[in-house]
């Protein structure tokens, strides 16, 4: 075992694993309305591959473990979600080389958001996972940097912001991803990737408050 941080990561991964499997059918169903009916299956396959590496992860430092989570997602998920989730985690993992604290969490969040938008080219309002990530990261930053909230409270605010981001995707038409082909017919449906992002953030918060 390589320390408290990695242990917390494993707890979080277990929770996320359970949650994504619970929500697999729901996420796939969301994707069948605006996409190709595979988002839940893609993430379930990915998180299973990650938790299969549990014993290896337990031996690693936090940054290495997080990087491994990212590479595993990249090499198991495929589709759009694989490189977006996996690539962004991989790239942001460098920020954690000194372990987890308020500052590195902030750096991680910002690096994740940056890589995600760079890779996918989506902007807020394009009806993608960016609509959950961007408000969550901005809220997290403000809560810590300006309001001096403890990280857990900041995370709670970030989760709220992501939830509003998901709701925000409902009335939009999409400009990125498969939903973009639907034009106005995508209006009225929440984005699957934004929704899965929210679920993951909720599990991170649950782990932190536990």
């Amino acid at each position: 075992m390589s320390g408290e941080d990695t242990e917390a990561l494993l707890d979080a991964l277990d929770r996320i694993d359970a949650r994504l499997h619970d929500e697999q059918a729901y996420l796939t169903d969301l994707d069948s309305r605006v996409g190709d009916a595979d988002h839940g299956n893609n993430l379930a396959r990915g998180i299973s591959a990650v938790t299969e590496k549990r014993d290896d992860l337990a031996e690693m430092e936090l940054d290495e473990a997080v990087k491994t989570v990212g590479t595993t997602l990249v090499s198991e998920v495929g589709g759009a979600a694989g490189p977006l989730y996996g690539g962004s985690i991989m790239s942001a993992s460098q920020t954690l080389d000194g372990g987890l604290d308020a500052e590195s969490a902030l750096a991680f969040a910002e690096a994740y958001r940056e890589k995600l938008t760079e890779r996918g080219g989506a902007r807020p309002g394009d009806k993608t996972m960016v609509d959950a990530v961007t408000p969550a990261v901005h809220t997290f930053q403000r809560a810590i940097e300006e309001d001096d909230l403890p990280p857990i409270d900041a995370l709670a605010k970030a989760v709220d912001a992501a939830r509003r981001g998901v709701a925000y995707t409902v009335p939009l038409r999409a400009s990125k991803g498969r939903a973009s082909y639907l034009g106005l017919r995508a209006v009225g449906h929440r984005d699957p990737g934004a929704t899965s992002t929210l679920f993951i953030l909720e599990e991170l918060l649950a782990t932190a408050t536990d």
Partner: protein, 332 residues
């Protein structure tokens, strides 16, 4: 919905095993979903490779063989293969003259192919990429991720593969591929949704008196839902959209594909072909060749697409060049 499958999670793996069992001239790269030629990559040719989600059979591995693809990577159903599998395919098929990746324009495919190509380039492989976006149903605008790649991709495989078999260099093979991309358009229609093995239910619901125009090949909803039409009306609607997009007119020469989506009987495709030929004849457009069959499918979907590709002597020569693959054989 009933299917001839075992565990849905083994779908792609078992399908590929069955495929290489039926075609000893194909083999799987160990521990991957990549299919290559058993006799190894041709060392004196550029390797043309492709890949994408499964569920479009015979695309992609059905086009691996002499005169077409050197390799094909299969992702999960409707999910792009992962970057490391794509990198592995590129490395393994390179015979020293470089690799052309034929990518259909979906964000997942493009991102994974990009990363896979970067990884292979680090190992010294020369890689070029051509992105196919032949689906005319969706306008290329600020509001979309560009047009999708659909059945026209098979013509890119054929022409690029034939050019590679001639011994052309990577730039030349890529040029020919781009030339097809610039001249091909496709539009599709669904009578029923497909059913994915994991979900086991239709991706979208269509009433008995509805069809869905402008569908892609992933069970995505289309761009317009409308009442049922006769075969002739369907042929006209699809053909008009494609001809209009390409701006093909009298005196030009084309190759067409009337493609089945997987659950449509061949007889219905011929009924559509009849009208397509009638229309093109009437417009004075010369048909060099008409392909009819299941070339790029969407699992068990009932429906079809019509592809038109403007051709010149270079492209007709490449299309007529011999090839031998599970899904397409052209004799000398």
């Amino acid at each position: 919905m009933k299917k001839l499958i075992n565990d849905p999670t083994d779908y792609v793996d078992e399908m590929l095993d069955g495929m290489v069992a039926a075609y000893p001239e194909l083999r799987r790269l160990p521990e991957t979903e990549v299919v290559v030629r058993t006799d190894g990559p041709p060392t004196d040719e550029v390797a043309v490779v492709s890949g994408g989600g499964s569920g479009h059979e015979p695309t992609h591995a059905g086009y691996v063989g002499d005169g077409m693809l050197a390799g094909a990577a299969a992702g999960a159903v409707f999910t792009s293969p992962t970057a490391d599998q794509l990198a592995e395919m590129v490395r393994e098929t390179d015979g020293g003259r470089g690799v052309l990746c034929v990518v259909k324009n979906y964000e997942g495919d493009v991102m994974n192919f990009d990363t896979g190509a970067e990884m292979a380039e680090l190992d010294g492989v020369e890689v070029q990429q051509v992105v196919v976006d032949d689906d005319v149903a969706v306008e290329d605008s600020l509001y979309t991720s560009g047009r999708r790649g659909v059945c026209g991709t098979v013509l890119v495989h054929k022409c690029a593969g034939a050019k590679a078999a001639e011994g052309a260099d990577l730039d030349e093979v890529a040029r020919v591929a781009e030339k097809v991309v610039d001249n091909v358009g496709t539009m599709g229609v669904a009578l029923t949704s497909c059913v994915t093995p994991e979900k086991g239910e239709p991706t979208f619901e269509l009433a008995e008196d509805e069809i869905e125009l402008g569908i892609g090949i992933h069970g995505e909803p289309g761009v317009e839902r409308t009442g049922t039409m006769t075969a002739d009306e369907v042929a006209d609607t699809l053909l008009d959209a494609v001809l209009d997009d390409l701006g093909v007119g009298s005196g030009e020469e084309v190759v067409t594909i009337v493609n089945g989506m997987g659950g449509t009987p061949l007889s219905e495709l011929y009924i559509l072909q009849r009208r397509v030929t009638e229309r093109l004849d009437a417009e004075g457009i010369d048909v060099h060749d008409a392909w009819v069959g299941d070339y790029m499918t969407s699992l068990d979907m009932m429906g079809c697409s019509v592809t038109v590709c403007r051709v010149d002597d270079e492209l007709t020569d490449l299309l007529d060049a011999p090839t031998e693959t599970p899904a397409l054989t052209v004799r000398e």
